[in-house]
Every structure is written in structure tokens, then in C-alpha cells.
């Protein structure tokens, strides 16, 4: 890389970082978009140590939700997981049957045992699974969802909802309240 270009990119990075150090303005709703996602045919490992093929976990006729998390993340992931917990609670019986997938961004650290403890922390039950695997396989999944970041430390709060109604993955970017997620869920199941 030419010295000048390197210099310029460093300057830009610095300015960007300085700008980012300002607190973010409060946002009312998460940004919503519809993503074309093809689930990669990777085998992941769930909280019970069972090897599961990712595409088999999502029934196209039913809603399913995906979040990318890691268990030692303290700022973003507990808030994301809380939104899954709240959704399960609000939906009652339907909540138990809804597929919720928390996919680890830190598979080296997040063993099935650690995933199990993490699910327990959020009172997960029913069909909420914690998925880990090899870093390469997890990367395939994050790339398929356009949620890949170079490092887990730069990840963003994202929730994906498979909408049988729209036959597509709805991408919710940002923190999502229970009311917002419930509304999305209902829209996904009821035409």
C-alpha cells in the first residue's frame, strides 16, 4: 500500500473512531429490511452436544428467529437474548414451539456446556437452541446472513426472523423491544 494511501486511511479511521465515541442518539425502532439468505448446509453443535444441520432447524412453514451472540459479550448479547426471553414469555405455548437460534460468534470459547449455562441464565426453554461449531462453519452462517464482521468484538445487534408469510428473512438491526418483536412475529405468521 502506498504510504500516502495508508496515511489517508489511518486518518479516516481515526476521524471515524472519534465520531463513534460520541454516544449514539436514541432510536425509536430497529431498522427493518428483508434479506435474501440461503442457509448454508453446515453442521453445528447445540447446547446438548448434538450435531445439527442448520437448514433442518428451520421449517419454512413456521417462523424462526436467529441472533448472533457470544456468551462473554456483555454489552449487546444479553440485551439480544433478553428479547428472545421476552418473546418466549409473551407467546406462551406458541413461544415454546417457536424456533429460536442463538448462534455463537466465539465458538472457541462457547462450548456446548457454556451455551447450556447461558441459555439457563435467560430462562430459555422449548425450542430455543444455542449453536456453536467450528469458526469456519459459523463464519459461513454469518456471511449468509450478511452479519459477518472481521472480529466478534465489532459485531452489531441483529435479529433475523424467518417470515413464512413473506417467505423471506426479515432483518432487524438494532435493539428490538418486545412490542416491536411481537409485532414482527405476528406479521410473519398472519397474512
Amino acid at each position: 500500500m502506498a504510504a500516502k494511501t495508508l496515511w489517508r486511511s489511518l486518518t479516516m479511521t481515526a476521524t471515524l473512531c472519534a465520531a463513534l465515541l460520541l454516544p449514539l442518539p436514541a432510536r425509536a425502532a430497529p431498522a427493518r429490511s428483508v434479506s435474501p439468505v440461503t442457509l448454508p448446509n453446515v453442521t453445528l453443535v447445540n447446547q446438548d452436544g448434538q450435531r445439527v444441520q442448520l437448514p433442518t432447524l428451520v421449517d419454512p412453514a413456521k417462523p424462526a428467529l436467529v441472533q448472533f451472540v457470544f456468551t462473554t459479550c456483555q454489552a449487546i448479547c444479553p440485551v439480544l437474548a433478553t428479547s428472545f426471553a421476552n418473546l418466549q414469555k409473551s407467546l406462551g405455548k406458541a413461544g415454546e414451539q417457536t424456533t429460536l437460534l442463538s448462534v455463537s460468534l466465539d465458538p472457541d470459547n462457547d462450548t456446548p456446556k457454556i451455551g447450556r449455562a447461558w441459555l439457563k441464565r435467560f430462562h430459555a426453554h422449548g425450542n430455543w437452541q444455542f449453536l456453536t461449531g467450528s469458526l469456519a462453519d459459523v463464519t459461513q452462517v454469518t456471511k449468509a446472513f450478511q452479519a459477518f464482521t472481521e472480529d466478534k468484538m465489532t459485531h452489531a445487534p441483529l435479529t433475523f426472523l424467518w417470515s413464512p408469510h413473506e417467505k423471506a428473512w426479515v432483518r432487524l438491526s438494532g435493539f428490538v423491544s418486545n412490542a416491536e418483536l411481537l409485532a414482527e412475529y405476528r406479521q410473519a405468521v398472519a397474512p
Binding site: 440485551v79 459485531h155 435493539f175 423491544s177
Partner: protein, 563 residues
């Protein structure tokens, strides 16, 4: 990462520690009371508990609303986002601003293109205890603006609110020991029962780190306007004092019985206060040093610990791995997914702390995988051949052999025996340099746990690590290559962290930024990864087979196994 990219990262890290300009210290004026006062002040103790754990005065989790939704306890503890030091963090685009005493109770000035606007109204006035309380409860800041969505709106009793405000007034108000305007003092711990050559390998590499950093600091002090200095200034975003800081390295040599180590460590810490411990090597368990570090709140980065103490709860010691126990776990992970295993493996365990640790790692992972415990056959070095003969009567199909210097003799004996197991698994960490001379006859059925990067993927010595060793690896040996790379990795982690603390030199902040660090790929490990509260930077291992000969040629029989 390619060798080249890795080199760039390392150079950038080192370079950035070298630009001058201003020299500021982290001496921040205490607003109310230093943190040490929490021990005697019940309000501060409650504040600290709320801040770190989200547990209220009643012992129950505190509740809060995030975007109107209920959340509680550990999930909403302040330290999660703002970190233990309170200096804040950025995770992706999510920013948790600093809330340490020196920021919360000062106005936040407007910034234009990253430069503070000196005149005019601030963006946010200094908090008073009252406005802070309002912000915590309602999410409206001192300027009357709403805080970010992710910030919980807390339901606190008056006593809890007062305690939390008092704690925030004291948070990170004092700089930690070991840092001066122009220097950062470090120490490394070595015990006198470590072979002299191992000790020297560690010290040689650490002294190289110090010499590199200090040489560059010197260079940039005399030439602050050259291109590298300007690059460093940009990377450091104004916190440039680290660039001209010199490192000093004290050697805390431990002598005599381990029971006396805590007193020796305390005496060293008192006589020459340091900011952090870096590297280090002792014979046996690292536990006494870790316990001391925990008590002192003293960061310890990547000691060469074959027997770390990661199972004991702690926060201040970051290990490179779980030592030899990680190899036992790796073998369990391999066998749990192994179709060839038709009967439970046999375990033969020699005496000593190291074989016992391998067995601990194996047993824990094996039973986590739902398998019944395997009772090891205990062997002693005296009359070993006869014991091996007896143990072979059971005709083990798969043998896990937790031995060190005895391995070659046992393998030779197995090779000649009709009941030789089909496969024998060993831990490389128990073999030392003798690994390369294990009998060739055994190698077709010998499987080795390998917690390092595969040799063909190692970056060339010219990429940097070469100069961190007193002699080339062929002369220093396998073990001392690993010791030198541990020191090298410790240097990288330390360098990155010193830049990331952004002139706020508290020990808690150092550990905070280490926990938020991105993955590194120094020599020896496929990847070191970090996370808040994570104790081990490398979590897996390969299972390999060794080619003939005395040079390190390995064939991976597994992926990098972490579970």
C-alpha cells in the same frame, strides 16, 4: 492470517507505542474517596456490588427497563457495558461512554472534527448527584436529552441510588501504581526451581520487548515529526504519551518453599510497585502467583504456565491456555467424535502434578460428553516395565498414556508386545524436547495432542520472533521456542493494551481493554482470542501424528478441537 499480515500487525503494534508529543499521566483528582475505601464504607461497597453485579441492597437483582422491557441483575450491571474501570467501551457501533469519576462529573465539550470546542455551552454539563440520579432512573441526561436505547432505566431505592452515585464518584479516581510520566514499570515472576535455560529463554525475550519499545520511544522523542511518529499519533487518537513512555522490567525471583511465595511477592510489590506482570515461569502450579495477583488487583499477562489456575474464579490473570490439561481435554474431544473407538479407552497415568492435570482435563471433557468416568491405572517410575506388562494383560484397544520422560521406554516396550494397543495418545506438553526423539517404530500408531499452530503454518522466524530468542530454534529446542513465543505474545497483548488504555493507566482498565481485544495470531497459536472475563486466550488443540525423523513434521488428524 498470512505471515506478512501478521508481521504488519506486530509492527504496527510496536510502532504505535513510540510516538511522543505530550506526556500526560493518568493522575486524576479524586472526587470523593479512593476505591480502597470500599472496604470500610458500606455505601461504597453496595455501590460497587450494584455496579459490578446488578445485585441490590436486599441481595436481589435490581430491575430496569430497556426500551420499556424488563431486565434485571447481571444482565444490566453497569460494568457490562462501561467495564469495570468505568472508562467505557465500544462494541461494533455500540458505544458505552466513559462514566468514571473524571468524566461523569465534568462537562462533555462539543467536538468539531474530533477537536473539543473550548467556548460555548458544553454538549452535556457536568452531572450533579441529583441529575445523575435522574439519568439512572429516567434515562434523561444532564443536558435534558435521552440516553441511548441500550442504557437501562434503573429502578433503584433511594439508598441504592445514593450508593451507586457515591461509587461512581470514586470510580477509577486514582491512577494505579507503577506508572509515571515517562515510564511504565513491569515485572516478571520466575522461580529458582525452573531450569536456568528455560528462565533465560523467558527473560531474553522479555528484555527484547523492553529494548524494542524503549529504543523506539527514544527514537521518536528525538524525531517526533517523522512519518512513523505521525502514523502513531493518528492511531493513538491523542493519547500519545504512551509513545514516549519507557518500560522497565523487574525480575521477581522466587526462592525456597512455595508456601513462602506470597510473602516474597508482597515484598517485591512493596519495594518496586509495578503496573502489571508480564510473562513469567515457575515450576509447578501458577496458583500462588495468581492468588497474589487477585488479591493485589495486579494484571498478569500470559505467564508460561503448564499448570494454570483458571478454574479458581479470578479476573486479573490471563493465561495463554489451560496448560497440559487442555491437551487431555483435546484428546477427549477427539475420541468423543471418533468412529474407531469401540471400547472405552484405557488410561495409564504416571505420578506427578503434570500427568494428573492431563487426566483432569481429559476426565472433565469426557464426562461432559456424556461418557462414564475412566479410572486410570496408576504407574510409578520404579519397576515400570513390570507394571506396563501387567497393565497390558487387559489388552487395551486405545491407550491414553499420561507420562513424561518415561514415554520413550514405554512406547518401545509396547512396540514389542503382542498386546500392543491399536492407538496410543500422549500429551506433547509432557514430553519437552524429547518429543522429537520418540521411537519411530511407535509413530504409526502414536497420536499426539498438539496445542500449537501446525509447524507448516508457523510464520518465518524473520517475521520477528527470531530476534526474541538467544539462538535459532534448532539450538534452543522446542520447549524454549514456546517459552519465547509466550513472551512475544505477552508483549503483543501488553503493547495493544497500553495503546488502548488511552492514557488512563489503571490496572482494571488494562484488564478491561485486554478483554475487549480483537483476535491475535502470534507465532505458536492458530489464534488467541479474548473476551470480557475470559481467562484463556487459546482454547483448543490438534491431534497429530509425527513423521519419521527428529525435525518437527506433523500430520493433523483432526481440526482445531475446542469441544
Amino acid at each position: 492470517m498470512t505471515g506478512r499480515a501478521w508481521t504488519t500487525a506486530a509492527v504496527m503494534a510496536l510502532l504505535a507505542g513510540c510516538s511522543p508529543r505530550q506526556t500526560t499521566t493518568a493522575a486524576v483528582t479524586p472526587v470523593v474517596a479512593p476505591q480502597a475505601a470500599t472496604a470500610v464504607n458500606p455505601a461504597l461497597a453496595l455501590g460497587k456490588q450494584l455496579y459490578r453485579t446488578g445485585i441490590g441492597a436486599s441481595g436481589q437483582p435490581v430491575k430496569a427497563r430497556i426500551k420499556g422491557d424488563l431486565a434485571e441483575g447481571a444482565a444490566i450491571a453497569c460494568a457490562n457495558c462501561h467495564l469495570r474501570s468505568g472508562f467505557g467501551a465500544q462494541e461494533g457501533a455500540q458505544v458505552a461512554p466513559p462514566i468514571a469519576a473524571d468524566t461523569l462529573f465534568q462537562p462533555v465539550k462539543l467536538k468539531f472534527h474530533g477537536v473539543e470546542v473550548q467556548n460555548g455551552a458544553p454538549r452535556r454539563p457536568a452531572y450533579t448527584p441529583q441529575t445523575l440520579l435522574t439519568a439512572l432512573r429516567t434515562g434523561v441526561d444532564a443536558a435534558g436529552k435521552p440516553l441511548a436505547d441500550g442504557m437501562p432505566r434503573f429502578e433503584l431505592t433511594d439508598a441504592e441510588a445514593a450508593a451507586l452515585v457515591a461509587y461512581l464518584q470514586s470510580l477509577s479516581a486514582e491512577a494505579s501504581p507503577g506508572v509515571e510520566a515517562k515510564s511504565v514499570h513491569l515485572a516478571t515472576v520466575v522461580s529458582d526451581d525452573v531450569p536456568a535455560a528455560d528462565r533465560e529463554a523467558m527473560l531474553f525475550a522479555l528484555r527484547k520487548l523492553v529494548a524494542l519499545k524503549n529504543g523506539q520511544a527514544e527514537l521518536y522523542d528525538v524525531n517526533p515529526h517523522d512519518r512513523s511518529a505521525r502514523m502513531a499519533n493518528v492511531m493513538l487518537e491523542g493519547a500519545t504519551d504512551v509513545a514516549s513512555k519507557r518500560l522497565s522490567l523487574a525480575v521477581w525471583a522466587l526462592h525456597g518453599p512455595r508456601a513462602s511465595w506470597p510473602q516474597q511477592l508482597a515484598a517485591y510489590a512493596k519495594a518496586e510497585p509495578v503496573f502489571a506482570l508480564v510473562g513469567g515461569i515457575v515450576a509447578g502450579s501458577w496458583q500462588p502467583v495468581a492468588a497474589f495477583a487477585e488479591e493485589e488487583g495486579l494484571p498478569t499477562l500470559l505467564p508460561f504456565a503448564e499448570l494454570p489456575d483458571a478454574a479458581t474464579p479470578g479476573w486479573y490473570t490471563l493465561y495463554a491456555s489451560d496448560g497440559v490439561a487442555q491437551e487431555g481435554a483435546g484428546i477427549a474431544h477427539f475420541l468423543l467424535g471418533d468412529a474407531l473407538l469401540t471400547q472405552p479407552p484405557a488410561v495409564w497415568q504416571l505420578e506427578g502434578e503434570l500427568p494428573a492435570a492431563v487426566q483432569r482435563g481429559f476426565a472433565s471433557a469426557w464426562q461432559d460428553g456424556g461418557k462414564p468416568a475412566v479410572a486410570p491405572v496408576q504407574l510409578t517410575a520404579d519397576g515400570l516395565a513390570a507394571q506396563v506388562d501387567r497393565a497390558l494383560a487387559a489388552k487395551p484397544q486405545t491407550l491414553l498414556l499420561w507420562s513424561g520422560t518415561e514415554t520413550a521406554a514405554i512406547l518401545t516396550q509396547l512396540a514389542a508386545h503382542p498386546n500392543r494397543p491399536e492407538r496410543v495418545f500422549i500429551a506433547s506438553g509432557l514430553q519437552g524436547d524429547a518429543l522429537l526423539t520418540l521411537p519411530e517404530t511407535a509413530r504409526p500408531w502414536l497420536y499426539v495432542a498438539w496445542p500449537w499452530r501446525l509447524p507448516e503454518k508457523e510464520p518465518p522466524l524473520a517475521a520477528g520472533i527470531g530476534t526474541w530468542m538467544a539462538a535459532p530454534p534448532a539450538q534452543v529446542g522446542e520447549r524454549r521456542y514456546r517459552i519465547a513465543s509466550m513472551a512475544y505474545a505477552a508483549g503483543l497483548v501488553l503493547n495493544n493494551a497500553l495503546m488502548e488504555v488511552r492514557s488512563k493507566y489503571t490496572r482494571d482498565h488494562l484488564m478491561d481493554v485486554v478483554g475487549m481485544q480483537k483476535d491475535l495470531q502470534p507465532p505458536s497459536w492458530p489464534r488467541l482470542s479474548f473476551g470480557p472475563g475470559q481467562r484463556l486466550a487459546s482454547k483448543g488443540c490438534y491431534i497429530v501424528q509425527m513423521a519419521a525423523g527428529t525435525s518437527l513434521k506433523l500430520e493433523a488428524k483432526s481440526a482445531w478441537l475446542t469441544h
